[in-house]
């Protein structure tokens, strides 16, 4: 198969970027898009040019590191699929393929197609965990979890933190990501003690980072490689509102009655 690639090239965070055209010939339909880019990079290196910077790790759709906007859709045209799982047979022979980074104010471009997504890490660090004593694990059956709840928690826990939700959103909002992270812990008994604090802290960090506010366009849900539902955004709203209205704010004095 033959393609015309138009790829975003940008030297560094502060330098201007632009699309550069690269013709690709004799691409196997069984190649993944990233393998095709690997091939292109070998060619560029052989020609003495700077290879295209892009990220990948597992290449099996579980780590969330790969993320490119392909022909205007984060992760490309195939639903429920990460960039690394997108194969060239999904494209038409002779097609022009435009590849851009995941764009958002909170995801500044580092170089070419690589963006800095550490804002997500800071949101997780603000509350996306449970506090548990270390030592030997407790007996598994000592905390009953209904099948229904564990299924829903796992639906939320599927989120791989790739950032496609933010990249697709007209508002650069991270609410699908944060909603999934708040929900997957908040749906399980282990997550209950810190549930409302977690919601308040993670939302506060999300706002501090400068992510936008959801306008319920549903674009994030439609591009999410893991099909995270808008329902989790609504759930985050409920947990957050409850934390604001019902939870007693901390006095700052520590302990006390």
């Amino acid at each position: 198969m033959n393609f015309t690639l138009r790829i975003w090239r940008q030297k560094g965070p502060a330098s201007p970027g632009d699309l550069v055209t690269y013709p690709m010939k004799d691409v196997s339909p069984d190649m993944s898009l990233l393998e095709m880019l690997d091939g292109l990079n070998e060619r560029l290196i052989a020609e003495g040019q700077e290879p295209i910077a892009f990220e990948s790790d597992c290449r099996e759709g579980i780590c969330g590191v790969c993320g490119l906007t392909i022909n205007g859709i984060p992760h490309g045209r195939r639903r429920s699929t990460t960039t690394c799982q997108l194969h060239m047979r999904m494209f038409e022979d002779g097609e022009e393929i435009t590849i851009e980074p995941f764009r958002a104010g909170c995801f500044p471009v580092v170089k070419d197609l690589v963006v800095d997504r550490r804002a997500f890490d800071r949101i997780i660090a603000s509350g996306g965990f449970i506090s548990a004593s270390t030592g030997s694990a407790p007996e598994a059956n000592s905390l009953p979890v209904s099948k229904k709840m564990s299924d829903r928690a796992m639906d939320a826990a599927q989120c791989i933190g790739c950032g496609a939700c933010v990249a697709s959103c007209p508002n650069g909002s991270a609410m699908l990501f944060v909603g999934a992270k708040i929900s997957h812990l908040g749906l399980l008994p282990q997550g209950q003690p810190e549930r409302y604090d977690r919601a308040r802290k993670m939302v506060a960090q999300m706002d501090r980072e400068g992510f936008g506010a959801c306008t319920n366009t549903g674009e994030c849900e439609a591009v999410c490689p893991k099909d995270i539902s808008l329902e989790f955004i609504a759930r985050m709203f409920r947990d957050y509102l409850r934390s604001v209205f019902v939870e007693r704010p901390e006095s700052g004095a520590g302990g006390g009655p």
């Binding site: 859709i73 007209p170 508002n171 400068g210 936008g212 319920n216 329902e231 609504a234 709203f237 409920r238």
Partner: protein
């Protein structure tokens, strides 16, 4: 009151304000339509003037509703502007190629339909409530104001265009306001989205029928 401040400062709190004020405005749009549709009933002239007199005789009710609507509109406007500024900053660089998979045109243009609706509201009040924008206004004869007002083709045209924009705004807003207060359910949300669209079209059709009835001579 720290809880109120932290709520107001958060994106989620502002979305809740948008949703609640949107619901108030939405309720008005429906109530106002039901009141106005009396024009099309037999004996419409008497009915609408009677309705208008009823409202004016109950000044507490009328001014209570007006104050609620004004506060709701102002809050809706302030939060929409604040959130939009924030959202623009969160999405500074556009894609060279962008394709939408799900986001409807109406959902992406709330900040276009909304402000146009705002200017329409100002015009509408000056046209049929206070009369400055009306060629021959009589505060005691709503029916005559309608017939004369909509006899001007461009005035009717402005109303019709505004109603189409309101329909777009509502087709997204009427389900979005549920999501924005945390209500979403896989069983109820899809029919709710459908209902929002049907309601939006029905509301616009109802409102548009009034200037159309005047222009076609059904209401004289």
């Amino acid at each position: 009151m720290t809880w109120l401040r932290s709520l107001w400062q958060s994106t989620i709190g502002k979305k809740v304000v948008m949703a609640v004020t949107g619901l108030i405005l939405f309720g008005f749009v429906i109530g106002h339509l039901l009141g106005n549709m009396q024009v099309l009933l037999p004996d419409g002239a008497r009915r609408i003037n009677h309705y208008s007199r009823f409202l004016h005789e109950n000044a507490g009710l009328l001014w209570g509703a007006r104050a609620t609507l004004l506060i709701a509109l102002i809050l809706h406007l302030i939060t929409s502007l604040q959130l939009t500024l924030r959202n623009r900053k969160a999405r500074p660089e556009p894609y060279r190629v962008k394709r939408w998979r799900e986001a409807s045109y109406a959902s992406r243009t709330m900040m276009l339909s909304g402000p146009i609706i705002f200017f329409y509201i100002v015009y509408h009040l000056a046209h049929l409530t206070t009369g400055q924008a009306h060629p021959d206004f009589n505060p005691d004869d709503v029916y005559r104001n309608l017939v004369i007002g909509f006899g001007v083709w461009w005035a009717s045209g402005a109303y019709i265009v505004a109603q189409i924009l309101i329909a777009m705004h509502i087709s997204h807003g009427a389900w979005s306001m549920f999501q924005s207060v945390g209500l979403n359910h896989p069983l109820y949300t899809p029919p709710l989205k459908m209902l929002a669209r049907v309601l939006a079209i029905g509301i616009a059709a109802g409102y548009i029928s009034i200037p159309v009835a005047v222009m076609t001579g059904l209401v004289t």
